[in-house]
Symmetry: none
Subunit: 402 residues, 2 copies
Amino acid sequence: MQFETLTPLLRESETKLVLLVMDGLGDIPSTQGGQTALEAAATPNMDRLAAEGILGRTVPIRPGITPGSGPAHLALFGYDPLQYTVGRGVMEALGIGMHIGPGDVAARGNFCTLDSASRISDRRAGRIPSEEAKPIVESLQGIKLEGAKAEVQHVKEYRFALVLRGKGLKGEIEDTDPQVTGAKPLLAKAQGKGSQKAAKLFNEWTRKALKILAKQPKANGLTLRGFGGDPRLPKYKDIYGLKAACVAVYPMYRGVSKLVGMDLIKFSGDSPADEFAAVKSIWAGYDFVFVHIKKTDSMGEDGNLEGKAKIIEGVDQALPHLLALKPDVVAITGDHSTPVPMRSHSWHPVPLLLWSAKNMYADEQTQFGERFCAKGGLGTMPATDLIPLMLAHAGRLEKFGA
Amino acid sequence: MQFETLTPLLRESETKLVLLVMDGLGDIPSTQGGQTALEAAATPNMDRLAAEGILGRTVPIRPGITPGSGPAHLALFGYDPLQYTVGRGVMEALGIGMHIGPGDVAARGNFCTLDSASRISDRRAGRIPSEEAKPIVESLQGIKLEGAKAEVQHVKEYRFALVLRGKGLKGEIEDTDPQVTGAKPLLAKAQGKGSQKAAKLFNEWTRKALKILAKQPKANGLTLRGFGGDPRLPKYKDIYGLKAACVAVYPMYRGVSKLVGMDLIKFSGDSPADEFAAVKSIWAGYDFVFVHIKKTDSMGEDGNLEGKAKIIEGVDQALPHLLALKPDVVAITGDHSTPVPMRSHSWHPVPLLLWSAKNMYADEQTQFGERFCAKGGLGTMPATDLIPLMLAHAGRLEKFGA
C-alpha cells in the first residue's frame, strides 16, 4: 500500500506493537506428509496465540521469487522491495554502525587469496578468522584518496565494508568479484556515467590496498560487491507515526532497521531470552519493536530439521517474557522460507501469526505451523500488507473517506 | 481491473444482475469462538444460494484500511477508491439528497463559536442540537452571489452542506478550518488557478453568512471543509454496458449510485420487502439492480448483535420475492464490516456470496457466514473484482485475446 494513502490516516495511540521475526522460518516437509520444523516443535505459547489470533502466509516479494534477507525484511517492514532497492554494501555498512549519508557510496569487501599471477585461488582468503582479519582491515584505514574520504571497517571473518564519502558520488557500479577462482578480480565499472567518478575512486582505493596487503599470506587480495548509495527510505516515524526499535544480533538486520528509522538497541547475549530482556529494557520508550532471531535460518541452511525445531522451541519458551509486557499487537513470522530439504532460501510463502488484544477476528486454526497457516483466516498475502494490518488492529488508523 | 481492458470485452446479453448490499455486514465474534450476527441469523434462503454458489470475502480498500461508506460503495461498484476520489463535501451533499452536477462545487460546513477577536473558541459551536441548528441554516438560504447560485442544507447538529452552482467552478480549495481553537477561520484558498473563481465565491458567501450569524450566541462563525466538484466518474452504461438502477432508502447511497450513472428508483416503505417490490416494479427495464439495506450497519454501530441478526433474517425472509424475478447472477455482500463488538466500521474483510444460474463453480461451503466465507472458493479478494466476476458469470464478457 502506498504510504501517501496510509500516512494521512494515522491516529495518535498509546498502543504497542511487536514484530517477531524468526529468520527463514518457512519450510517444506523433508518427506511427503512429514512435519516441518515449526510443526514438529513444541510451541505451547505460540499455539495459544494462534488459537486466539489469526493465521496466514506472507509472500515476501512476488510469487515464485526467492528473497535475499534485505529485500525480505524491507517487505515485512512495509516497503515494496521492487520499489525500494538497497545495495547490499549499504546494509553491511549500516549494520556495523557506519553512517551512510547522501553522496556516500558503500560496498561489501571480501579478502581473497591471489596466486603469483594475481588470479584468485581462494575467494574467501581461507575464511580467516575475525581476530586475524581485523588488524588487516585496520592497516587499510590510512588510505587517502583525492576528492573523497574512505572509511573501512571489519565485519566478520574475511568480510569488511568500505564507504567512500565525497561529492557527486553514485553507486551504480558492477561487482569486482568474478565469482570464480582462477580469474583476476575485475575493475569497478560504472553502469552509468553518473557513477564513473565513484568507480574510479574505488579502483584507486583498491590499488593502494593491494600494495599494503601484498605481504599477507592469505588475505593478499580483495573484491568489492554490492555497491550502492543511501536509498533514502521514508522513515517509520514519518510514514507510520511509530517510534521504533530494533532488537537484533546480526549486523545486516540492524542495518535494514536503521534504514527505515528504527533505533538500534544495544544489549548483551544472543539468546531469545536476552533479546526479550532487551525489549523489556526499552519498552516504555517505544511504540514498535522489531525482534530478530537468526538461528532458524542458519539451521535451515544446514539442513538441520531437529536443530531448527529446537531454536523455535527456545523462542517459544522465552516468549512469556515478551508477552508479560502486554503488547497490544504481536506478529510472529519469518522474513522468508529456508526449507530444511533445500538448505537455502526459497520462494515458499512464510507462516504468519497475527494476534491482537482487541478487534481480533480469530480463525479456526489452533496451532502455529505451515499447514494451519495455509488454511488461516488471513489467507496468503503480500508481506507488505502486514504493517497496515498491525496498525489497524492497534487502533492507529482512521477511516478512509466518509 | 482497468475499464480500458474490461469495456472492450463487453458482449450483448439479456442477462440480469443483482447486487444486494447489507451495509456493514461483516463482523467479528463478540466472544472467542462466538457467532457473528450473520452466523447466528437463520438464513435458509441465503444458505441455499451459498450451497449452490460460491463464497469469499472482499477487501474494500486495502488490507487494514477501514472504509467510509462512500469509498466502500465505489469499490463494490468496481471503482478503485484510491484512483477515483470523491470530495467529502460531495459525499455529505449527496447524503442529504442534494444534487451535484458538472460545474458544481460542494463543501462540508461546521458552525463554530468565535470570540470577540474573531478567533475560534469552540470548533463545533458547543455541538448545538439539530433543532437549534436547522433554523440557523435556513437563515443562510437567502444569500445571493454574483455569478453562482448557493444552496445550503442542514445535515446534523452543527454540520451543514454548501453547494455552489455556476460556470467554470472547480473545487481544489483548501479547508478554512484551522483545526485548532484560538485561531481565526482561514480564507478559502485555491490550490490551483482553475479553482480561484470558486474560492472567491465561497469567501463571499462566508462574509455574507457571518453578518447573518453575528447575533448567534454559539453559532456565530463557520468553517468549510472537504471542497470538491462532480468527480465525473465513468458511467455504468459506458464501462459495463449495463442499464443500472439503485434501490436504496438513504440519500448517501442513492447519491453514490447516481455518480456512477444508476437511475434512482422511487418507492414507498423501507423494509426489505418494500425494496424488493421496487426491484420487481422496474425489473423489465434494467440489466443491473443495486439494492441497499442500511440497518445492518446501524445495528452494528449500536453494538446490537441480536438486532443485526434480526435485520439479516428479515432480508432472508423477503429474499424469495427477489429470487422469483429469476435474476441470472446475484451477489450478496456488505460494503464494509461494522463489527458489533467495535460499534464502528472496520477493516475486516466482508462476507461475499456469488450465485449464478449458469457457469457456476460451487465450492464446498453450505452456509452464508464469516467462517464459511473465509474458506470459500473465491478466496479473499479486492471488492473491485466483484463486478467483473458478475459480468463473466452473466455471459457478458468476451474472451481476452486469441
